[in-house]
């Protein structure tokens, strides 16, 4: 039985687990990014403060040594590069992202770093942080209170640093999510193996196989279900056994009185002199009894077939060659409907399938009887065994309309008008075929010929 993927427990579990894990991961990453943002802000601010406080003494010393009292002193570009810089291709000013100005209490710029703007920073001359759209600036006051060191960090740089940090955090997550999904799929599949085993076991039951399901390996969560299914199958098997027993007993009980009536009528026919008025009626009664006999036989076969079952008692393949030969011999000796049978015994020893002998015999008997009844009397019915599990029964006669072939499997459907068949033969075979996972393929005309009919019985292999 095919299960729609959307309704599969495995699919639902994988989908939900993947979504939950991904959402948790994303939420965790957002929280981590938020925390990282604040930590980076704090670290950057600490850097600004430390730079301003520790650098101010050195800068003041440099100012004293180089100031002419009228112009702004510009610190030279530092020689060499910053160790560990990522921007090897950029100019040096890109590396020196911090810039500073040493300002007097009145706001005049006395000294600035080489990368700082000539104009004074927007920040007021007071200790503490200042931030505008372009810079975050910290102002430190010299110990004598005369000078103010302002260290500025471009906001672009800070944003870039935060973005790179967050990206560095998300990149491995993005790579890991597919791996996690694969892990979830494998884990769920592995975890659901016992459930699938139970499902397969239940699926293998149903028709013909009602043996209890093994509970030892069933997960605890579905042990109750398995117990319930076993209990249900037990009741079902008991009910089917009652039904089968009833049909078997019915067959016996019905056959005996018909046999009595037929035998007595035949005696009556033989004892009445030729031309006696009652002889014609006795012959009609005999014909009706024979028809009743055939019909009751077919109805009981159909009842048996529809009561389920039909697999080999062992649950495995069994040899069918001798049964096939017995049925053919029986029908040949009975001279059913006067037709001849050509039986090709090649491959008969290899014929085996998972089907009950009685069910197999009923199938064959009906297929051969049909061929004898409806096939051409000028051509023998041919029975051949192909491979290990295919039996073909073919006969001559006019080809049937292809559109009608499947209809022949329905009850009381006859291929020929006026035929004296019960119209149940192929319905019986079809019921057994469905119970035993076999196939019944009908062809008309026969493959390779312009006329006739062929029934191909493809039996189930265990």
């Amino acid at each position: 039985m095919k299960i729609k993927q959307q309704n599969s427990l495995q699919f639902v579990l994988i989908k939900r687990l993947t979504v939950i894990v991904a959402l948790c991961w994303v939420a965790g990453s957002i929280l981590a990014a938020y925390s990282m943002y604040h930590e980076l802000e704090e670290a950057s601010d600490t850097g600004l403060v430390e730079t301003a406080r520790r650098g101010s003494t050195l800068i003041e010393t440099y100012l004293d040594a180089h100031s002419d009292g009228s112009s702004v002193v510009v610190m030279p570009t530092p020689a060499g590069r910053i160790v560990g810089s990522d921007n090897d291709d950029d100019d040096d000013s890109e590396d020196d992202y911090l810039m500073y100005q040493l300002r007097a209490a009145n706001g005049d710029v006395l000294l600035r770093s080489h990368n700082a703007v000539a104009e004074p920073f927007e920040a007021p001359i007071e200790v503490g942080f200042y931030q505008d759209d372009d810079f975050r600036i910290y102002t430190a006051q010299s110990p004598d209170g005369e000078l103010f060191m302002q260290v500025a960090e471009p906001m672009d740089h800070r944003h870039e640093a935060i973005l790179e940090s967050v990206a560095a955090q998300f990149l491995p997550i993005g790579l890991l999510i597919p791996a996690v999904i694969i892990g979830i799929i494998l884990g769920v599949r592995q975890g659901l193996v016992p459930v699938q085993r139970v499902r397969d076991e239940i699926e293998a039951r149903g028709e013909g196989n009602l043996t209890p399901i093994e509970q030892e390996e069933a997960p605890e969560e579905i042990t109750t279900i398995v117990s319930a299914v076993n209990s249900l199958m037990g009741k079902l098997e008991a009910a089917l056994n009652v039904e089968r027993s009833f049909t078997a007993n019915s067959a016996h009980e019905l056959r005996t009185p018909i046999a009595v009536a037929l035998a007595q009528t035949q005696r009556l026919v033989l004892e009445l002199p030729e031309g006696h008025e009652a002889r014609k009626r006795a012959l009609q009664t005999e014909a009706s009894l024979k028809r009743l006999s055939r019909l009751s036989e077919k109805l009981l076969q159909l009842a048996r077939a529809e009561a389920g079952g039909g697999f080999s008692p062992t649950g495995y393949n069994q040899k069918l060659g001798s049964t096939l030969a017995l049925v053919v011999d029986d029908l040949t000796r009975a001279g059913a409907d006067g037709g001849a049978i050509r039986f090709d015994p090649d491959n008969i020893e290899t014929l085996e399938a998972n089907i009950d002998l009685d069910a197999f015999a009923i199938c064959l008997r009906n297929l051969i009887e049909n061929a004898l009844k409806y096939g051409s009397k000028n051509e023998p019915v041919e029975i051949t065994v192909v491979d290990r599990n295919i039996v073909r029964v073919s006969n001559g006669g006019p080809a049937l309309e292809t559109a009608n072939l499947d209809d022949l499997k329905t009850r009381f459907k006859r291929s020929h008008k006026g035929g004296d068949g019960s119209g149940l033969g192929l319905a019986i075979v079809d019921a057994i075929v469905r119970n035993t996972r076999a196939e019944l393929n009908l062809y008309s005309p026969r493959p390779g010929k312009a006329d006739g009919f062929m029934a191909e019985l493809k039996l189930h292999q265990s």
Partner: protein, 217 residues
């Protein structure tokens, strides 16, 4: 042929027995396993017709016991059990044929003859005898130089016993047993009377008298 019919359905047994008697066979009837065992011990039957479901036991067990005791009496099972597995079980138990109820009485006769022929060692139903006599055992017909000769059922029954075993001498008692069931009144010269009639119809040279022993063809 002397036939034992084991069947508990009396109306069916009556019809079968009447049919076989009309064909000149001698038929004894039993409706239980116990009676059948007693009858089988006392008489050499040519064929046993056996129902499987009997009031005091299974016919298949009776057949198994019969085969275990070494009896080779031909047996045809008559039963309402129509499954192939029942048939296989019956044949494996030692049955020679299996006829499912309801059956045609003529088919029963045909199968009886076929089984009897197989046991006589000559399954061929066409036999040629001295004097241009051609016998069709299956069709119960006799042609003398191409002209059909009719026999009564008793005449046929006696001739049938001998012609199935050509060259074998059958005693008068053997022929009487084959002709008459239990309880039938037998005249002391019945066999001689029928042999005489047969010789008139078929020719003197067909049936030979073995003095002090019996007759043979």
């Amino acid at each position: 042929m002397r036939i034992l019919l084991v069947e508990d359905e009396l109306m069916l047994a009556d019809a079968v027995r009447d049919h076989l008697l009309a064909a000149g066979e001698a038929v004894d009837h039993s409706d239980s396993v116990v009676d059948a065992e007693i009858m089988l011990r006392g008489t050499n039957y040519d064929v046993l017709l056996l129902d499987l479901n009997l009031p005091d036991g299974k016919g298949i067990d009776l057949l198994r016991d019969l085969r275990r005791s070494g009896s080779a009496t031909p047996c045809i099972i008559l039963t309402a059990q129509d499954q192939i597995s029942d048939r296989i079980e019956g044949l494996n138990a030692g049955a020679d044929d299996y006829l499912v109820k309801p059956f045609d009485l003529n088919e029963l006769s045909a199968r009886l003859s076929a089984v009897a022929r197989r046991y006589s060692g000559n399954p061929n139903p066409f036999i040629s005898l001295d004097g241009g006599v051609e016998v069709d055992l299956a069709g119960r017909a006799i042609l003398i130089d191409g002209v059909q000769t009719d026999l009564t059922s008793r005449e046929w029954a006696l001739f049938d016993q001998m012609v199935r075993r050509p060259g074998q001498t059958l005693s008068k008692r053997q022929l009487e047993e084959a002709l008459y069931e239990f309880g039938a009144e037998i005249e002391s010269n019945t066999v001689e009377v029928y042999v005489s009639r047969l010789r008139r119809k078929l020719g003197k040279e067909v049936i030979k008298t073995v003095r002090g022993v019996g007759y043979r063809v």
